[in-house]
């Protein structure tokens, strides 16, 4: 128990920020998806750390982390399928070129 909770939180925040940067700055849609994965896992670190340093009797933190895994897996499946579908129609996965979402 020599490592304090704040280290985990810093790690988590750093990971989250890296993920966020990836989502906002990368052009490739697959890379954006990867960034999202990083953000989700940063959250997981938070959840597990708080569980470990809080009351270990409650399983809520672990359960939440597992649910996030499951959601992330499903999201990746859907996201990759979308990207493949977009690629088939427009032969590109560059986010800037997919600018249909406007009036």
């Amino acid at each position: 128990m020599s490592i304090p909770l704040s280290w985990y939180l810093v790690l988590s925040a750093a990971l989250f920020s890296i993920g966020l940067f990836g989502v906002l700055a990368r052009k490739n849609a697959v890379a954006i998806l990867l960034g999202i994965e990083l953000m989700l896992n940063a959250v997981n670190i938070n959840l597990v750390a708080f569980w470990r340093y809080g009351s270990t009797a409650s399983l809520a933190g672990q359960v939440f982390a597992i649910i996030v895994f499951a959601v992330a897996a499903a999201e990746v499946a859907v996201g990759l399928a979308l990207i493949i579908s977009v690629y088939r129609r427009r032969t590109t996965v560059i986010a800037d070129e997919l600018d249909l979402l406007k009036w």
Binding site: V23, L24, D99, L101, K102
Partner: protein
């Protein structure tokens, strides 16, 4: 069953019949008339049971059948609804039950039940006849069934309900309700053949004319309620209340309160019983089917008017010392006697068989009213009952005659002959023997043919009372009216039944169906026999052979049993002379008359009923129309009210236009448009800048906003 319960139930069967026929069975003719006649028979049975039970009561009149329940709350008191059978209502229910049942049965035949549907009959018009072709190829025209057969039975059912309600009620309020229900039914049934303009007008006339009386009657009822706090007969007609009312004075004509109440109620009777000056509706009411004329306009509804006066007799005579008539009684006696004579003179010159009877009814009701005016209570009740029987008989007989004549008209195809004009008849005694003999009995009863007929005993009693109490003017007037009655009755019988047929249809007239002749026969029995229950005890030879049951029974209604008059030969001889003389003169004058031209009594003033219709038309109807059309409609309504409203509307419209033009369009709309347009312009300008379709810009924007919100939240809200 307890007698009171039966009395409560008496009016209900006809009401149920009305609803059942109207709602469910109006397509089925046989079913409808079975229900109606069955209901009438049930009420008849109940009435007879009640009547027989009243006979068994010792000293009936003190011990009456009475029952009442709380009905309408009025503050801390209750208006009660209840039934009362005392000798007066017992005797009334007796003749009402009989005549109503007979007329219900008669209606089946009268409306040609069992005949084919007419060739071109329409609802609202009398049936025109149907053409039949028998197996030999002969074509013949026969009477056709009434197109609104079921409706007729529904209406007379409702009417019977009104009459029974009126008779059994123990208070003025329910009596008035029955009274008005009958008024409505009278209107509906006079206008039964509403396709004829004359029937429509007659219905409206009857309704409006009786309404005048009803308004006054309602005033009288309100006055009684405000003065005594009760509407129950037993509460009003006790000695204490009456003496208080008789000694209270009112500012109107110096009448006592009792006198004024009596007078107001009596005006209701003037309308309902068609007394002068409100008599004009009854002759026109003959436009209705004949059973209606017999039931409503001869036997029951017009009798109900007299019944109301008889019922309130102690109130009307309050303050009467036995010799000098009170003002109210003088008015009643005057109107009764005058009407009796006046209507009799008109009847002499009428040629329509039903109109003669209509005027005769007015005249006979005048006899009763006059009798009440001079305080002859029992005589009035007696004449009311006998008149109901013989006049119903006469009307039904005339309906039978008309029916026979219509058969002749259809048979000969000569539609120019009016089947109701007596000068088109003649010689019908051979063709229609049952109708002839029963009509003769009815006619003789109406004339007061001595000893045999009921009319003699009742009319004689009225004359004797008028004479015995010293009211000579009334006595002489009534005697002259009685002479005229016998005269026009014999004229009618002679023209209709005696001699030879004057037209082809009269030669081919035919006796009517048994449903029509059976009631005639039964009513004829009463027209003769009912007189025998009221033979004065002092009458020469016959007196005392049969006890004067009627006087004992009905007299018991009053607190003081009316004393039996001292017998006097003068009124007896008078009634003998006028009855026989009138009959004889009528026969002598008319036995050889061939056509209306030879009739010397076709005087214009009589034929035109003293021009009362024209006078009323000029005095009331025309001014009403003028008032309605020119004053109320054109001036008040169109010019003033509409003008005012149109002006308001115009002002409002110009105000509205102004607002629209100078406020709404520039200010309200301008502001709204401006906001919208600016938003649109800004949006157009902004959209290429902030809405570029690049998902990552959106996310940066979201993140920025989220961070700003978080900072604001962190620094400001906490």
């Amino acid at each position: 069953m307890a007698t009171e319960s039966i009395i409560w139930l008496l009016p209900l069967p006809p009401l149920l019949a009305f609803f059942v026929i109207i709602l469910f069975t109006n397509k089925g003719k046989a079913l409808s008339h079975s229900i109606a006649v069955g209901a009438a028979a049930l009420s008849w049975l109940g009435s007879m049971v009640v009547f027989v039970r009243t006979l068994a009561v010792e000293n009936f009149g003190k011990e009456v059948f009475q029952s009442s329940i709380n009905w309408l709350p009025t503050g801390d008191k209750w208006l009660k609804i209840g039934v009362l059978i005392d000798p007066l209502s017992a005797i009334t229910i007796f003749f009402v039950a009989w005549t109503v049942l007979m007329i219900f049965i008669y209606s089946i035949g009268y409306h040609n039940y069992g005949q084919p549907n007419g060739d071109h009959d329409r609802k609202g018009l009398p049936p025109h006849g149907a053409t039949l072709i028998d197996e030999h190829g002969h074509q013949q025209t026969v009477p056709s069934i009434e197109p609104m057969y079921a409706r007729f039975f529904a209406f007379i059912g409702l009417f019977a309900f009104g009459m029974y309600t009126l008779v059994v009620s123990d208070n003025l309020l329910t009596m008035f309700v029955g009274w008005e229900i009958m008024g409505l039914c009278s209107y509906l049934l006079i206008g039964f053949w509403f396709g004829k303009p004359s029937a429509r007008n007659a219905a409206v006339k009857a309704f409006m004319t009786t309404r005048i009386g009803d308004v006054f009657m309602l005033l009288g009822i309100s006055f009684i309620y405000s003065a005594t706090g009760s509407l129950s007969f037993r509460d009003i007609l006790n000695e204490h209340t009456l003496s208080v009312l008789a000694s209270t004075t009112t500012p109107i004509l110096g009448l006592s309160a009792a006198g004024l109440m009596g007078l107001l109620l009596f005006i209701g009777t003037v309308g309902k019983s068609a007394q002068w000056p409100l008599h004009v509706w009854l002759p026109d009411a003959m436009e209705g089917p004949t059973p209606v004329s017999a039931m409503i306009h001869a036997a029951t509804m017009v009798s109900a008017g007299v019944y109301a006066v008889i019922r309130m007799f102690p109130l009307i005579t309050a303050g009467f010392d036995g010799h000098n008539l009170t003002t109210t009684m003088s008015v009643i006696a005057f109107i009764g006697a005058f009407t009796a004579l006046f209507a009799a003179t008109i009847a002499v010159a009428q040629n329509d068989i039903k109109r003669v009877l209509a005027y005769s009814t007015i005249s006979q009701l005048g006899f009763m009213i006059a009798a009440l005016g001079v305080g002859a209570y029992v005589a009035a009740v007696f004449h009311l009952v006998t008149h109901a029987f013989f006049k119903a008989l006469l009307f039904l007989g005339s309906g039978s005659v008309i029916h026979g004549m219509e058969h002749g008209v259809l048979h000969t195809g000569d539609h120019s002959v009016d089947p109701q004009d007596m000068f088109n008849m003649g010689g019908l005694r051979k063709k229609m023997p049952i109708t002839f003999w029963t009509f003769l009995i009815g006619g003789f009863a109406l004339s007061g043919f001595p000893i045999l007929t009921a009319g003699f005993w009742s009319k004689d009693e009225i004359l004797a009372d008028a004479f015995g109490n010293g009211h000579m003017v009334v006595f002489i007037t009534l005697a002259v009216a009685a002479f005229l009655t016998a005269f026009y009755t014999m004229r009618q019988i002679t023209l209709t039944f005696l001699g030879e047929p004057r037209t082809k249809p009269a030669e081919h007239a035919q006796e009517t169906h048994w449903t029509m002749t059976l009631p005639l026969v039964i009513l004829a029995v009463f027209a003769i026999g009912f007189g025998w229950v009221g033979i004065p005890e002092k009458f020469p030879v016959l007196g005392g052979l049969i006890p004067n049951w009627f006087h004992e029974f009905v007299g018991g209604t009053l607190a003081e049993r009316p004393e039996v008059l001292v017998f006097n030969m003068v009124p007896l001889m008078t009634s003998l002379v006028v009855a026989l003389g009138g009959l004889l003169v009528g026969w002598l004058v008319y036995r050889n008359v061939k056509s209306a031209v030879e009739d010397k009594l076709q005087i214009n003033v009589l034929k035109n009923k003293y021009y009362f219709d024209e006078i009323y038309d000029f005095l009331f109807v025309k001014p009403s129309y003028w008032f309605a059309e020119t004053f109320a409609y054109k001036f008040i309504d169109q010019t003033i009210i509409d003008g005012f409203i149109n002006r308001i509307g115009g002002v409002a419209q110009s105000l509205g236009t102004g607002f629209r033009k100078y406020f709404d369009a520039p200010v309200v709309n301008g502001f709204g448009d401006m906001v919208g347009e600016s938003a649109k312009k800004i949006g157009k300008k902004l959209s290429p800048i902030i809405q570029r379709g690049r998902i990552q810009y959106y996310m940066v924007a979201s993140l920025t906003v989220a961070i700003i919100v978080a900072i604001l939240y962190y620094f400001i809200l906490t």
